[in-house]
Amino acid sequence: MLKKTLLSAAAFAALTSTANAQAACPIKVGVLHSLSGSMAISETTLRDVMQMLVAEQNAKGGVLGCELEAVVVDPASDWPLFAELTRQLLTVDEVDVIFGAWTSVSRKALLPVLEELNGLFFYPVQYEGQESSRNVFYTGAAPNQQAIPAVDYFIDELGVESFALLGTDYVYPRTTNAILESYLLSKGIAAEDIFVNYTPFGHADWSTIVSDVVNLGAGGKQVGVISTINGDANVGFYTELAAQGVSAADIPVVAFSVGEEELSGLDTSRLVGHLAAWNYFMSADTPENEAFITAWHEFIGDTDRVTNDPMEAHYIGFNMWVNAVEAAGTTDVDAVREAMWGQEFPNLTGGMAVMNANHHLSKPVLIGEIRADGQFDIISQTPEVAGEAWSPFLSESANWTSDWQELECGMYDTATETCVQLTSNY
């Protein structure tokens, strides 16, 4: 019943907005990234990338014969403001698509508005999963595209048997660590070989925690650290590691939130050999990546600026959206959504990214070792892995799946064969 109502509502919306969209030139692209406040440093770069991509597309003749116009707003790292500005973009500026957000909490804040107004949103950052909104395409990594392959690499290639899961105390590390803990247990790692610690944002006093980790080595097992430590706290953590003489050969650390941008604030000479897992590294040696980096340096006017994983996510997401709009022949949200399923676009690291029906990408997983120059040596690259919206390693979501194409549901319980809910207000 609900599905039917929704469908007819969608069909109605499609009918009305198709007429609008085709008439409306220029096509508007909303950019919702914080340009001030604590997240500014990460998100400003993404605003710049979006402007570059829009300019490039316009140079190629725009989309559907229309110019593209970037509508940039500043949510100022203020989570409720993300919802506010989403409403403004969709109702006042009437944008056709929004690219934006970084933190999970900001995405959660804008979801209800987005679903209410049936907008189209591209989210470019690796996140904790456990979500699949009808209106969002997730171009960053889900846990199975970053965390799980990194743990597999630790177990298979480095022979790690004792794990320290260190994280900052908020939703992303807690959810990721919960998934990893149950994954490790399923891999036969004993519960006493998993050490978990959470620290506040900006934590500076790492000496005891690093000593605790070093002490795990007395158990006679190879120790490895999985770090979901976020932001500035990484500086103190890596400084303490170096000070206590912990080398990557003794205790390797793999980080999920440390990329080229973050390393630019660190003295990397003492971090050589520690690891990071992403879907993109700037050091990827492909013609596409070289062209992208050249274009980026030209656009930003500074050859010292680095590129990173969320930038690639926007690059893929934007190009997929352009292709989907061309395929649908309209910018109407529902038509574009349907054209998005199965969209393919080449990764900057080689291979093809594919948009799946659960609104997550299939992308390769890369593991890189930190080099002295702040870049990464790519030492492992998997074939494309399909992003999982729901983790099979958490009991609550073990039976859930997302498929907007066939099942028309983002939270579908395969055990009871019912759709749990359509909105993402969890």
Partner: protein
């Protein structure tokens, strides 16, 4: 597998080395590598040992240099013919060097060849295979690296090679490390039980990580079960059901061994019921009654009696099945005398380990206390002496840290830049403090609430200013090399040198302040103004000037603290905000207006924080929360802090 490899490796250079030098062998390294192409190009920890064995068995010249280059990621493959080359970087491009002849072949772009990047796990295996060759290398660094490799992948087959190298070793430090490694390997792997027990006894009371790790490894157990206790195994413990092992866990073990039927879960029961609906009823129970577990089980049992579904396993069934077996843990080490010796050695180590861990925690607490002291002492002066609540104190810390960062970008030598940064940070924040006092605080001396608001506003403004100038990305403040390492007492107790440096600095500032306050004219005047500004003014002291200097001094010390904190933590625009709360707590707990009070407050808070962290290592945030709770309680009982000023000095 590795055994033959190592033995072979040992004799290889001795026997075949001279032979090869004389005449060309018929197998070139390139041809051997081509037979292993895929595993060389995509090395993995699981396949590398086969490659190493094959390479050493093939015994082509240049094998050792190739392994070193391979491990160092200096080998590339040309995709057109799959040939491998050594490489040399040549501005953006790479020069290919023939593996067999060492001749330069061509210079090509990096994209024309595939660089081979063995991961750390593979590098470790290659390092272990090279131990035998590298242990006798003329360069001491290479020998030490080889010893590290051998220690990381302990292997009994390396014993002869290490012993042989030990006989020739002349550097005492390296010889000592070799002896130690030999002792550990003997304890773990020697064939003779008595030798091992002797080696294990020697590890008694040894708190080093490798020694404890060997003991723990020897005590590794495996869970097993049998009809009755076997005599021929080394049993660690016998498990009592319900205490050491849950009934369902024990039953699951039997199911996994195919000794018992699996218990159907809720879903299996549901599916079975669903599949056996006959005329609106299952097993005689109408469907509308199947809304609770009891009736579902009744229906299932009816089906079970009819033989249509697998039997339901009740708790009694489980207990019955499990009672026929005995569950126990056995040591992987079959020799009981060895495990007894290990247990004895371990128990004598345990107390020592606990003691050293306590010591380590105490050092951490001292270090934290000294950082808190440095951060708070400036506040203690302004808050304690002048009764000004300066919310921008944290931003003076931040300002000092950024001063250090700017100096470091100008002066590349870290030691020199630190020597410049400390006084400069003092000067910059002294000036900032004086300016703030002159412009804002002077006008608000009698209105504490307005001071609080005004300084809070200034703190926000300063933060945003720092963001605009330096960006929000954390900036590095790198310690010079002599402060970069750690002072290592043993594997359990080590203190980062930079923390010791901060501790010393905190001590120096304590003495300096005591000297200024108690032994100088300025100190005398400060104390006079503190106790009674009106009387002090009538004695010819200018309270205005004293207030300004006091505020400058407090701010200046905050700047120096900023440089110190920047060395251990991160320099960001928000770093001050992280310390302002702790600083106020330190001052309030310690007792307002007293240098010794601040010292006591910092010591108490540092110790408390570490103590709570020790109880709850999983959540550092919780430790801070509990600490705040404790301080609230503490203030209830001692509102004036640990060191309360008495008499006239206490003012009102």
């Amino acid at each position: 597998m590795l055994r033959c490899l190592c033995a072979f490796a040992l004799i290889w250079p001795l026997v075949f080395g001279p032979l090869m030098a004389q005449d060309q062998p018929d197998t070139t390294l390139q041809s051997v590598l081509q037979t292993l192409q895929n595993d060389v190009t995509n090395p993995s920890r699981s396949t590398v040992n086969d490659v190493l064995a094959a390479l050493i068995a093939a015994d082509a010249p240049n094998t050792v240099p190739f392994l070193l280059a391979w491990s160092d990621r200096n080998v590339v493959q040309r995709p057109s013919d799959g040939a491998f080359f050594f490489t040399q970087e040549a501005d953006g491009n790479v020069t290919l060097i023939d593996i067999d002849t060492g001749a330069e072949v061509a210079t090509v772009s990096t994209r024309d060849v595939t660089q081979i990047r063995p991961n750390a796990g593979v590098q470790r295996e290659i390092g272990a295979a090279l131990v035998a060759f590298e242990l006798t290398h003329p360069e001491a660094d290479r020998r030490i690296a080889a010893l590290d490799s051998a220690a990381r992948s302990p292997d009994p087959d390396q014993l002869p090679a290490i012993r042989a190298a030990r006989a020739e070793e002349e550097v005492p430090a390296i010889a000592a490390r070799m002896d130690r490694l030999i002792a550990l390997l003997v304890a773990r792997y020697d064939q003779d039980s008595a030798t091992r027990v002797a080696a294990i006894d020697a590890l008694r009371g040894d708190v080093s990580t490798p020694a404890r790790s060997v003991l723990n490894q020897l005590l590794q157990t495996r869970a097993e079960f049998a009809d009755s206790l076997p005599d021929d195994v080394n049993i660690a413990r016998i498990k009592t059901l319900g205490e050491d092992m849950a009934l369902t866990a024990a039953y699951d073990v039997l199911v996994a061994a195919n000794l018992a039927p699996p218990a159907p879960g809720r879903n299996a029961i549901r599916d079975a019921l669903r599949g056996n609906i006959v005329d609106g009823a299952v097993g005689g129970v109408p469907i509308h009654d199947l809304d609770n577990d009891a009736s579902r089980i009744r229906a299932y049992q009816a089906l079970e009696d009819a033989g249509t579904v697998p039997p339901l396993v009740t708790e009694a069934d489980m207990a019955d099945a499990v009672s026929q077996y005995v569950f126990f843990d056995t040591y992987l080490e079959p020799d009981a005398t060895v495990t007894d010796a290990v247990r004895a050695a371990q128990s004598s180590t345990t107390t020592k380990v606990a003691l050293f861990q306590f010591l380590s925690l105490s050092f951490d607490a001292l270090s934290l206390a000294s950082i808190f002291f440095l951060a708070a002492i400036g506040l203690a002066i302004t808050f304690g002496v002048m009764r000004v609540i300066n919310m921008a104190h944290g931003e003076f810390i931040m300002m000092g840290a950024y001063t250090g960062y700017v100096v470091q970008t100008i002066i590349p030598n870290y030691t020199a830049s630190l020597a410049v940064a400390l006084p400069l940070a003092f000067a910059v924040t002294f000036l900032a403090g004086v300016v703030m006092e002159r412009l804002v605080i002077r006008h608000l001396y009698t209105r504490p609430l307005e001071t609080l608001l005004a300084t809070f506003g200034i703190s926000i403004a300063l933060q945003q200013l720092a963001k605009n100038i330096f960006g929000t990305q954390a900036r590095p403040l790198t310690a010079p090399d002599w402060l970069a390492g750690a002072i290592q007492v043993n594997d359990l107790v080590s203190v980062a040198a930079v923390r010791v440096g901060i501790f010393v600095m905190a001590g120096m500032f304590l003495l300096l302040l005591l000297y200024i306050l108690n032994r100088t004219r300025l100190g005398l005047e400060v104390r006079a103004v503190t106790q009674n500004p009106g009387m002090a003014a009538s004695m010819g002291i200018n309270p205005d000037r004293i207030n300004m200097l006091t505020f400058g001094l407090g701010s200046g010390i905050a700047g120096v603290a900023g440089v110190a904190i920047g060395l251990v933590a991160q320099v960001t625009s928000e770093m001050g905000a992280n310390y302002i709360v702790q600083s106020f707590m330190t001052v309030v707990v310690g007792g307002v207006g007293s240098v010794f009070g601040t010292l006591a407050g910092a010591a108490l808070i540092g110790a408390l924080q570490k103590g709570i962290e020790w109880f709850n290592p999983a959540n550092t945030l919780a430790a801070q929360t509990f600490m705040v709770l404790f301080i609230i309680l503490f203030i209830q009982f001692r509102p004036k802090g640990i060191v309360a000023l008495k008499g006239r000095a206490a003012g009102d």
